[in-house]
Subunit: 191 residues, 2 copies
DNA sequence: CTCACTAGAGACGCATCGTCTCTTATGACT
DNA sequence: AGTCATAAGAGACGATGCGTCTCTAGTGAG
């Protein structure tokens, strides 16, 4: 070993090695030793930075695919905005695959709550945009309805092993979300 | 060792040992060796019957808490029927705890689809009962809406680490499911 | 009473964990 | 330029659990 890396350069190498390892052997069979070997470094270097597999992998995943909240759609219509968000979510699931998702869910307890708050924020923004356009009143909607499209999609991701097609997304929006939004508006009138 | 067990007696001992082990150390730290030791038998006896940890645990769980479909509520009203099913689901989740649920989901790919079909059948029965009473027409409802209460609850179970209270169940039924059922009926009229 | 079957027990080789140790490259500070 | 604390690279280490294999001796069927 002639050159010895440090700081960010080293960390990037490790995260990239972890990602490659993740893609080639999956989560269940990813080992700290494997990552260290691929990154041409020692295990101790990994354990100095992450307490376990799960934390390392989460960092690696975040490092490679950003957050759904990174860019919020604004198409001028609530329906297509929501659909766009759901599509972004499925894209991320496709990148990871179900095995990694389940593995992380089982081993990283802190991950799930974060999913919730992130999407919550995004959906709230979408609804505020719609409200500004006069499509609806945000206050009409129970929180449960606001997070519902993402919740249903997430459920689908966790319970099926295959990547999710376009149809379920459309169904969620058209058969569940939008009817509820409409019902909420008309019930407000009859109050 | 004086007495040597066989057949069902032996199998029951093992399943009970597995359950006890599950309750005392959780799923992640349950080992085949631990179960064998507690059941006072050898590992080979386990491997003769189950291919791995996940299958053994699934059998043990089924052996101790039956299926949601074991008894289908019939209270005379759709709302309370659905609530009763959701309550039975949360009861089972309480018995298991989130850690076991996640562990099994990650390691036993065949488990998830089964959840889906079981609840699907139960909900369909509830709706047929309601239809017989004249509460609604089953054909009005998209499949997505039929499975929706269970789907949402399952989502909640998988994403929160604590047992689920009564309120979310009521919210799911009153803020999401029933409004959709009603909307579906009235939209049918205006078709 | 005999015998095929398999329970009970644990040794085995392998993989991986997380810790520890050792040498030596590196960059910050004189 | 020279010194030095720091941490990188490498791998040995004991522990643990996997899944397989082997051996013996209960046990129920006939």
């Amino acid at each position: 070993m002639t050159v010895r890396r440090r700081g960010a350069a080293l960390e990037d190498s490790i995260l990239e090695a972890a990602w490659t390892e993740l893609m080639s052997v999956g989560y269940a069979r990813l080992t700290m030793e494997g990552v260290a070997a691929r990154a041409q470094t020692g295990k101790q270097v990994l354990y100095r930075r992450w307490r376990n597999r799960a934390e390392l992998v989460i960092t690696a995943v975040r490092h490679h695919i950003g957050s759904v909240a990174d860019q919020i759609p604004d198409t001028g219509e609530l329906r297509s905005d929501v659909l766009a968000v759901l599509q972004r979510m499925t894209q991320r699931q496709r990148d990871l695959g179900p095995e990694i998702l389940h593995g992380l869910m089982a081993e990283a307890p802190d991950l799930a709550p974060e999913f919730l708050t992130v999407i919550d924020g995004v959906m709230t923004t979408l609804l505020e945009q719609a409200e500004k356009r006069g499509e609806l009143k945000v206050t009409d909607l129970p929180v449960r309805v606001v997070t519902l499209p993402a919740d249903l999609l997430r459920h689908e991701m966790l319970l099926t092993r295959h990547p999710i097609a376009e149809k379920p997304l459309v169904d969620i929006v058209d058969q569940v979300f939008l009817p509820l939004v409409r019902a909420s508006i008309s019930s407000k009138v009859s109050d």
